[in-house]
């Protein structure tokens, strides 16, 4: 018998109350229970970064938080970042730079890159690489991702 607990949290601006199993992690709750499948699941142990999303203003691993821990939190998934326009410039830059191929890492990569841009990060390629070092991409070799982030910081993208 799985232990459950009722949590109330805000997801992409909407207040949600749900009974969840204690052992359910946040990303599975968002994808499986709420149907928000934009943020991906990769390794399930915090290494690949595909599940990166925003909890209470910080980008974190969705697979390393149990949904019960997020009780009372403000969550923004990749859908939320798109809806409110926050990720618009980065998405456009990713397209222009061809910074994705299969797209599996892209939601997490956008989330991590957005934190860098929004925190006033410089167009410094090594600093950008360091910031996205927790996000695996097996297609691009990262160069195009780094260029896309630089384009946004240096204002070369219009949306």
């Amino acid at each position: 018998m799985q232990e459950t607990r009722t949590i109330t949290l805000t997801v992409n601006g909407e207040t949600i109350s749900e009974a969840v199993p204690n052992r359910l992690n946040l990303i599975d709750f968002l994808r499986g229970t709420l149907g928000l499948t934009g943020s991906h699941v990769g390794c399930e142990h915090g290494v690949c970064g595909a599940c990166t999303l925003e909890v209470d203003g910080a980008m974190v691993r969705g697979c390393l938080i149990f949904a019960v821990q997020a009780d009372g939190s403000q969550i923004t998934t990749i859908e939320g970042l798109a809806e409110d326009g926050r990720s618009a410039a980065l998405r456009e830059a990713f397209i222009q730079r061809n910074a994705l191929q299969c797209g599996y890492c892209t939601p997490g990569m956008l989330a991590s890159a957005l934190e860098y841009v929004e925190s006033g990060g410089a167009a410094d390629r090594s600093a950008i690489r360091e910031h996205i070092s927790g996000n695996y991409c097996r297609c691009t070799g990262y160069q195009a991702v780094v260029e896309a982030v630089c384009d946004v910081i240096e204002g070369r993208v219009s949306t």
Partner: protein, 283 residues
């Protein structure tokens, strides 16, 4: 890979948390940032019956001035340490180590107390705290005690924590203006577990020589270890003194090097000397 089932509690008072952790009827585990515990649960390396989430305990958070030094609450997140002016001013070695601890998203959740309590042999903080002569404040239902960092880390995931005890805070003494610090680690990819790393502190004298060395290696043995032989070899020498450095590298033989997935014990022995040389170059 999903975590096994568990009971979940989120106490709002220390008394409640300590009662839960001290209850011998249950196998309770504190949950700090969860950046190591949750993966360990997913791998079934850890299967606590009860998780005591420390996230609501405000008294475990924050960075305070303490007699010219710092008192860092155990639940203070790495990202909070990195953003703190107090930390960069009064604990520069902590600030030097922070960018090497995993990745930004992990640092947004991971806590200093969690790292200390876990005592992962590859973690930076246990070595940093030994090089700073830090003290660890432990709390349980029966009271509070402090243990020097040099006596706290006992082995692989093994610490001086007793049943029902919790890491409450990290205590750092004031830092003299002449104190210098060094840090270096080698990792295959930025933010990965180190293949070998070192932390160092020493007092610079006007003639350029350094005394009162503290050197602690991590990710080379079962736990972070002080390199006391190397410290003795460097006493009174300049960090760039080739002869003293050779003797210090030689003295690293006292460490009981152990292999991991990254490298053999022999390679670790070699890398321990490499990181020490590079850390000293920066002092």
């Amino acid at each position: 890979m999903k975590a096994p089932d568990f009971r979940y509690t989120r106490p709002v008072t220390m008394a409640e948390a300590l009662a839960l952790l001290g209850d011998e009827e249950n196998e309770a585990s504190p949950l700090a940032g969860g950046q190591s515990l949750v993966p360990m649960m997913n791998f079934r390396m850890a299967q606590p019956e009860i998780l005591v989430d420390l996230g609501a305990l405000k008294e475990l958070r924050g960075i305070e001035n303490a007699d010219g030094g710092l008192r860092i609450g155990a639940m203070t997140r790495y990202a909070e340490l990195a953003a703190s002016k107090l930390v960069s001013e009064r604990a520069p070695l902590v600030a030097m180590a922070l960018p090497h601890i995993a990745h930004a998203a992990i640092r947004n959740r991971g806590t200093i107390g969690g790292s200390v309590a876990l005592a992962d042999p590859a973690a930076e903080m246990p070595a940093v705290l030994q090089a700073l002569d830090a003290r660890i404040e432990l709390v349980s239902a029966s009271g509070t005690r402090t243990v020097p960092a040099s006596e706290f880390f006992l082995g692989m995931y093994e610490t001086a924590l007793e049943e029902g005890e919790l890491v409450a805070a990290i205590l750092l003494g004031p830092v003299a203006a002449e104190r210098r610090f060094g840090f270096h680690e080698l990792a295959r990819r930025h933010g990965d577990y180190a293949m070998a790393g070192v932390t160092a502190s020493a007092t610079a004298r006007p003639d350029g020589t350094f005394v009162d060395w503290r050197i602690a290696h991590f990710s080379v043995a079962d736990c972070a270890v002080r390199a006391t032989g190397a410290e003795a070899a460097l006493e009174g020498a300049k960090p760039t003194d080739a002869e003293a450095l050779e003797a210090a590298k030689e003295a690293l033989s006292e460490i009981d090097f152990s292999a991991d997935l990254n490298a053999s014990a022999k390679t670790k022995r070699h890398l321990a000397g490499v990181v020490m040389t590079r850390a000293l170059e920066g002092m």
